[in-house]
């Protein structure tokens, strides 16, 4: 009964989305506030209806209602409750429902927003409604998450969820990721609306900022959770593999990052208007492309899930209609956008523009590298592989210059900057970066010039961001009360920027250090034997049996001692066998030690030199915590920016500030 109610609600949501689109269009064309208001009401209704459908699916999973196909295929009574709930979005159908939940949720939030002017809002709500029609229509007609099984063949037990996916980080990863992907739909709708209205001005850039910031921050958290999951769950000791599915989530992030910076130029100076609009369309376009690539099976990936080629083609159609329509509109309307605020190459705009060029090129690298194998096999049938060696080279080559320029950007004035003045204020940061690089070369062996350069770059970005913040508050140059007044008086957006820039620097430090000096050791050990890993001693104490809620495991107890012989931890990596399908998986044990991890995997049973033993693989991942902490700092910076009161209060003062002649900040 609840299931049928849910199915009805999903169909109702489709109808309401259609109404949302049609009423908003009519309201806009006839300049009728009542009609447009009805469109907004339909947007709220569509969200409510999807919530009902989503609730019905959660209910079916929690109660293990195996008469629902989706539940029978993806759940099991022995599964812990949290993974029953998470199972609701672990399948193709469920993940599309989660996508639609987010899409209508953002649509409702936009409809409820009081800030947007009439025309822009009606056009944007109409566009969001059209996206709703496409995606909810796809769900209702081709991907029903609540479909029942023929009553004659209802199973007694479900087929479970992949045990790899039974993990807290992964339960939270899709909601964050989708909230990020789909948050970009609002930017997409507002960009389309700006094209329809034919106006892109500083106020518009200010309006898209909270949405872009929220989507970007959520996407950052989602990707980091996914990366962390891959790190500790897959047992390979790495955190990024340039796998096509990872790339599919990374491309919208790169473009959203470019968008935040380009929108800052549009907001403060009215320049780069059509470019900002293009990024707004492209960011969600890449989100949709990712959704298609991941589910269609055209890519081979360890993470590909919920694959269904036949429906993949339909999803490609959805993507083509949405993105093709938007780009056609762009081609038609963008030339009419006025965008002629002039600026010198050396200026804040120039630095942000350079950042955008490099981020766009980095996106192009990831896009081409991900798609070329598909294109080549379609055109000339030559299968090629594009993997980590290519991406590491090209991506680093494009992002490193962006990081070099980064600290100077916020120190340059708008319109016409003073490069030598900015560099003078960065002397301290340059000294810190040089010291970090030299210290790395001198102290860490084996020496690596490339890694030392990476460390220096990370230090440069962090010190540069802090130097800029110090400059703003006149640290050490003004009396303390004045500094304190400036600290509290600076807009939160500025602090958010500083925090996010420190975050990317922290990430660079971690990535450079970990990549250069990670160590690995593999030995077959019998109980009592030990091996060395980067100075640590790993001794296998014993092997015992262990039992989980839905698996049996062989557990190796490994004593980890540091170079001085002190106990670091007793690790207990497991080799788990899941009762349902007999799938065997490694459960990694991680000993955190400051910023570093000792990472231990128990493998198959192997013959050790002195009898029966277990294959123990250990990784020493120095500074790896920074790789995850950096992006979280960036997301925190986004959150801080989002709390900026300028994004929430009276519109006139904000617009006036935006139109005032470039204030020296």
């Amino acid at each position: 009964m609840i299931d049928e109610l849910g199915q009805f609600a999903l169909v109702l949501a489709l109808a309401l989305s259609f109404g949302q689109c049609a009423l908003s269009v009519a309201g806009r064309v006839r300049r009728d506030a009542a009609l447009a208001g009805a469109g907004e009401g339909a947007a709220l209704g569509a969200f409510a209806a999807i919530v009902v459908g989503f609730g019905a699916l959660i209910h079916a999973f929690v109660t293990s209602d195996f008469s629902v196909l989706n539940v029978a295929a993806n759940s099991h009574t022995a599964k812990p409750l949290i993974y029953k709930v998470a199972g609701a979005w672990g399948s193709h159908e469920g993940s599309i429902l989660l996508w639609c939940l987010m899409l209508t949720g953002y649509g409702a939030a936009m409809a409820a927003s009081r800030r947007l002017p009439f025309g822009l809002k009606a056009s944007a709500v109409a566009t969001q409604g059209a996206l709703g029609v496409l995606f909810i229509g796809y769900m209702v007609f081709a991907s029903n998450p609540l479909a029942r099984i023929d009553p004659a063949s209802i199973p007694v037990q479900g087929d479970s969820l992949n045990p790899l996916l039974q993990d807290p980080a992964l339960a939270g990863h899709p909601p964050f990721l989708y909230a990020g992907y789909v948050g970009l739909s609002v930017v997409f709708s507002l960009s389309t609306a700006a094209l329809i209205e034919g106006r892109v001005d500083p106020a518009w850039a200010r309006w898209i900022r909270p949405w872009a910031l929220a989507a970007w921050g959520l996407l950052t958290v989602g990707i980091t959770l996914g990366s962390y999951w891959a790190y500790y769950e897959l047992g390979w000791g790495g955190w990024w593999a340039w796998d096509p599915v990872e790339n599919a989530s990374f491309m919208p992030w790169l473009m959203a990052t470019a968008l935040l910076h380009s929108a800052a130029v549009t907001e403060k100076r009215g320049a780069l208007a059509s470019w900002t609009v293009l990024l707004g369309l492209g960011a969600f376009g890449l989100s949709m492309m990712g959704a298609f690539l991941v589910r269609s099976g055209v890519l081979t990936s360890v993470h590909a899930f919920a694959i269904d080629p036949r429906r993949g083609l339909l999803l490609l159609g959805v993507l083509g209609v949405a993105l093709g329509g938007a780009l056609a509109l762009y081609a038609w309307r963008a030339p009419a956008l006025r965008d002629e605020a002039a600026f010198m190459a050396v200026s804040r705009e120039g630095a942000l523009f350079l950042n955008n060029i490099l981020l766009a090129a980095a996106t192009a690298t990831v896009l081409i590298g991900t798609l070329l194998p598909l294109i080549r096999s379609a055109i000339d049938g030559v299968p090629i592989s594009v993997g980590a060696p290519y991406f590491n080279l090209t991506f680093t080559a494009l992002v490193a210059p962006a990081l070099v320029v980064l600290p100077a950007g916020p120190l340059l004035a708008w319109k016409r900057g003073d490069l030598s003045g900015a560099l003078r204020r960065l002397i301290g940061a340059a000294a810190a970066a040089l010291a970090a690089a030299v210290a790395t070369l001198a102290l860490v062996s084996p020496g690596s010039v490339l890694a030392a350069a990476g460390i220096g770059l990370g230090a440069w970005v962090i010190a540069g961001a802090l130097a800029e913040a110090a400059e703003r508050v006149r640290l050490f140059r003004a009396p303390w009360p004045e500094v304190a007044r400036r600290v509290s008086g600076l807009p939160r957006g500025a602090w958010g920027m500083t925090l996010a820039h420190v975050g990317i620097g922290v990430f660079a430090l971690g990535a450079a250090f970990e990549t250069a000096w990670r160590a690995e050791a593999t030995e077959a050990l019998a109980p009592g034997q030990s091996m060395r890993l980067a100075g640590f001693q790993l001794r296998l104490e014993r092997v015992q049996e262990a039992f989980g809620p839905n698996y049996e495991a062989g557990r190796a107890i490994v004593r980890v001692a540091d170079p001085a012989g002190r106990l670091v931890c007793e690790a207990a990596p497991e080799r788990r066998v899941y009762a349902v399908n007999g799938q065997a998986l490694s459960h990694v044990a991680i000993c955190p030690r400051g910023l570093d991890d000792v990472y231990i995997v128990a493998g198959d049973a192997r013959a050790a030199p002195s009898g029966a033993g277990v294959l123990i693989r250990g990784y020493w991942n120095p500074w790896v915590r920074l790789v995850f902490a950096g992006p979280l700092l960036m997301a925190a910076g986004g959150l801080l920016s989002l709390s900026d009161r300028r994004l929430r209060f009276a519109i006139t003062s904000r617009v006036r500030a935006a139109a005032a002649p470039a204030p020296a900040e």
Binding site: P117, A345, F353, I368, G554, A605, R606, L615, R656
Partner: protein, 155 residues
């Protein structure tokens, strides 16, 4: 009938097998010379495990990856250069086996694409700098906009 208890017993048996039986030991596969082994590891990272999902043979536990690792170690031990080994792998498995494709006309876009984006951006930056510093008098539309910015905007 609920098949779970049977599976459970089978799984316990399997876990015991996995933990106690002896098999070929990976540590024994390594080359004696650490420099040669390091070369082998570097090559492993560039070679695709053909039966896996976009993994290198350095990461994969698949049998084919194991075979390829042994093949590469043998060739290194026999004194072949990295280029010779790559050439051999390509002749045997095709371009698909290399994770970093060899530069060729069909692959040129991999390197040209990002460079073109940078070039286009640089061109746009230069073109923008040449724009006249003083723009034309305000149009009526702009006057409206200015009025809006100056405070009489009701939104």
């Amino acid at each position: 009938m609920n098949p779970a208890p049977t599976l459970r017993r089978a799984a316990i048996a399997l876990a015991a097998v996995v933990l106690l039986s002896g098999a070929a030991a990976a540590p024994g596969d390594r080359l004696g010379d650490p420099a040669q082994e390091a070369r082998a590891r570097a090559l492993f990272r560039d070679v695709r495990c053909l039966v896996c999902q976009s993994e290198s043979i350095d990461e994969s536990d698949a049998d084919l990856a194991q075979d390829l690792r042994q093949l590469i170690r043998q060739q290194i031990a026999a004194g072949r250069t990295d280029a010779q080994i790559r050439g051999f792998l390509v002749s045997r498995y095709g371009q698909f086996v290399l994770l970093a494709p060899k530069p060729s006309l069909g692959n040129a876009i991999l390197w040209a694409g990002p460079l073109l984006v940078v070039a286009a951006g640089a061109a746009a930056l230069i073109a923008r700098r040449r724009l006249p510093r003083e723009s034309a008098p305000l149009s009526s539309q702009e006057e409206d906009a200015l009025g809006k910015y100056c405070g009489d905007d009701q939104v």
